[in-house]
Symmetry: C2
Subunit: 320 residues, 2 copies
C-alpha cells in the first residue's frame, strides 16, 4: 500500500552515512499509511522509520511537522523524534523526495478499541495540547470549515451515486456549520488525525502518538471531536457512551474544558464528521473500485454526523 518510492542501495547507504546511526542492516517497506512511503530501517543498534514524503504532503509544511515532533518529545509526549544528521539537519532528500529518519516507537495500534484505550488517548491528547503551548510555529488547518464547501462542490456532480439525496443533506448541514462555527475557543497545536492507527499501545498502556502530518493550529476541542468520531463508535455505527466518557474524563483530568468548549462540542463533532465524510467521499469517487486499496466508506461518517445532529448537549457524550 505504501511504497511509492523505491530507494536504491547506493542512495540509501549514502543517505544513512550522513547520520550517526550505524550501518544499515535491513530496510523494509511498511504497508501502513497512505500518504507517504515508510521504511522500517534496522541498524546494528536500533530500529528507525525512514519516511519519504510524497506529493500529498506539502514540502513547505515539513519543517513544522518535524519541529513539532521534536518539541513534543522534549516535553515528554511519547512521539517519534526526528533524527539529525552529523550536520544537525533532520530533513534532507532521498531518491528525489524530501526524507527524514525518525525514531521507532514500540507498541501496536489497537484493532479493537476498549474504553481503557480511550482513557489513555484522552490523557495523552490533553498532555499533547498543553505541551504545544510554547511551540513557536503555526500552521493553519487547511481541512477546516473553509475547505468543506470547495470539497463538497468537487464531489457534488457524482455524490448521489454513493447515496441518493446526499448532496442536499450535506449542503444543508454545511450552511449551518458555516453559520454557527465557533470562534475564540482555546486552541493551539492539534494532531487533527488521531485515529486508532496513529496511537500505539502495549496492552492498555499508551506508548506513542505518531503521524503528525495533519497537525495544525486549531481549537483543542476540535481534536477531541475528531477522536469522539474515530474512537467512540462501534462497527455498526452506534455511539459507545462509555468510551466517550472515559476519553473525555481522562482528558479533563489533565486539562479541563471551558463552558464554551463543552457547549461547542456537538457542533465541532458534526464539523469533524463533515471533514472526514468529504475527504472520503472525494477519494471514493476518484479511486477506481477495483484498485488494490481499501476505500474508506464515506457513509460511516454520515451516520456519525446524524448522531451528533441529534445530540441535545455535551451530556450525551457522557459528561456530567
Amino acid at each position: 500500500m505504501a511504497v511509492y518510492t523505491e530507494v536504491s542501495d547506493d542512495d540509501l547507504n549514502a543517505f544513512a552515512a550522513e547520520y550517526d546511526i550505524g550501518e544499515v542492516v535491513s530496510c523494509k517497506g511498511i504497508a501502513e499509511g497512505i500518504e507517504n512511503t515508510n521504511y522500517l530501517l534496522g541498524t546494528e543498534s536500533a530500529s528507525y522509520i525512514l519516511t519519504l514524503y510524497e506529493k500529498r504532503v506539502k514540502e513547505q509544511d515539513l519543517p513544522f511537522f518535524l519541529a513539532l515532533m521534536e518539541h513534543l518529545a522534549a516535553s515528554g509526549i511519547p512521539c517519534p523524534i526526528p533524527v539529525k544528521g552529523r550536520d544537525g539537519v533532520a530533513l534532507r532528500r532521498l531518491s528525489g523526495r524530501p526524507a527524514a529518519i525518525i525514531t521507532f516507537l514500540k507498541g501496536m495500534w489497537p484493532r479493537r478499541v476498549t474504553p481503557a484505550h480511550c482513557a489513555g488517548l484522552g490523557r495523552a491528547m490533553a498532555r499533547m495540547h498543553m505541551a504545544g503551548a510554547d511551540f513557536a510555529l503555526a500552521r493553519p488547518n487547511d481541512l477546516s470549515v473553509q475547505s468543506w464547501r470547495p470539497l463538497l462542490e468537487a464531489s457534488a456532480p457524482r455524490a448521489d451515486e454513493v447515496r441518493g439525496g446526499l448532496v442536499g443533506e450535506l449542503v444543508h448541514e454545511l450552511d449551518e456549520l458555516e453559520a454557527r462555527w465557533p470562534s475564540g475557543l482555546p486552541g493551539g497545536v492539534i494532531h487533527a488525525d488521531l485515529f486508532p492507527d496513529n496511537v500505539f499501545f502495549r496492552g492498555e498502556t499508551l506508548t506513542g502518538l505518531i503521524d503528525f502530518y495533519f497537525a495544525c493550529t486549531d481549537f483543542f476541542a476540535y481534536d477531541v471531536a475528531v477522536c469522539l468520531n474515530a474512537w467512540c463508535f462501534e462497527p455498526d455505527h452506534s455511539f459507545n457512551i462509555t468510551k466517550a466518557r472515559r476519553l473525555l474524563s481522562a482528558y479533563r483530568a489533565e486539562r479541563d474544558f471551558s463552558l464554551e468548549e463543552l457547549q461547542a462540542l456537538p457542533l465541532l463533532a458534526r464539523g469533524s464528521a463533515m471533514r472526514f465524510l468529504l475527504t472520503r467521499l472525494y477519494d471514493w469517487l476518484n479511486t477506481p473500485p477495483d484498485a488494490f486499496v481499501t476505500r474508506k466508506d464515506p457513509l460511516e461518517y454520515l451516520a456519525k454526523l446524524r448522531f451528533h445532529q441529534a445530540v441535545a448537549g455535551p451530556g450525551d457524550y457522557g459528561l456530567d
Copy 2:
C-alpha cells in the same frame, strides 16, 4: 501491496503466546511480496517475520516449504528458520489463515545488481542444491513445461492486445520446448524463484535466501536458468555476459555442471523465460491497469526468450 489479512491484537497475542519468543512489542505489515501477508514482528529480544499464507499458496504444500527451510538452515544455508511453538509445531492458524513465524534475516536485496552479487548468488545456489540432496520430501514443479500450454491458452484470446503476433510466436516456441525438453538431468530441490528481491546482501556479502514458496523438485540447471534471466540482463534487456560468467563460475566452483547440463542450458533458459512470460502475461491481462499494484511487463521476458533462442551454445553465457 502485501497486507491481505488484518490481525487483531487479541488474535495476535493469543497466537504469540504459543511461542517462547517473549512479549510482542511491535507488528508492522510489510509492503513486499505479492503472494502472502507478511508482518515484521518485534519482541523484547528479537525480530521475526510472521507470514499468513494467502490463497495462491496451496495449504497442502506448506509442510514441504517449512521443512525445507529448516533442513537447509540446519545444513548451513542462510535462510529463514520456522520457529516452533512450545508444542513443537511451526504451522498453525491465525485470523482464518495458515500462519507461521520465521526468523528474521539481516540484509537487503540488491536494487542494482553487480557482478559480485551474481557470484555470491551462484555460490549460495550451488550450496543450496547440494544441501537439499538429503531432504526427504518432494514437490513437483507445477509451473514447468507441462503447465505452459494451458497457461498460454488462458491468455491467448487477448494476448495480441499486449503485442501483435505474440500468440503465434509463443505457440511456435512452446511446440519446440515441449518436443526438446530434457529428461534425466541432475536434480533435486530447487528454489525456482531466485529473483534479486529474494536474496539478501550486506554490501557484496550474501546474507540470506528467502521466499521458498515456489520451491520444488526439478533440474538444478533450471534453477540456474531462472537466475540467468533474473540477474544477468540490464534494464534495456541486453545480456550482461560478465554477470553470467561470475554467476556460473561461482556455481561450478561448488558444484560442477555435467556436459548434458551445459548443453541443455540455452533450452532451459528459454523455458524459464517462457514460464515468467506466461505468468506475467496472465497477470497483466487479469489485473486492472489502474490497480495500485505494479504489473510486471511480460515483454521483458519476450526479449530474454529471443536472446536465448539466438544463443549458439553455453559459451555465449560466458563459460569456457
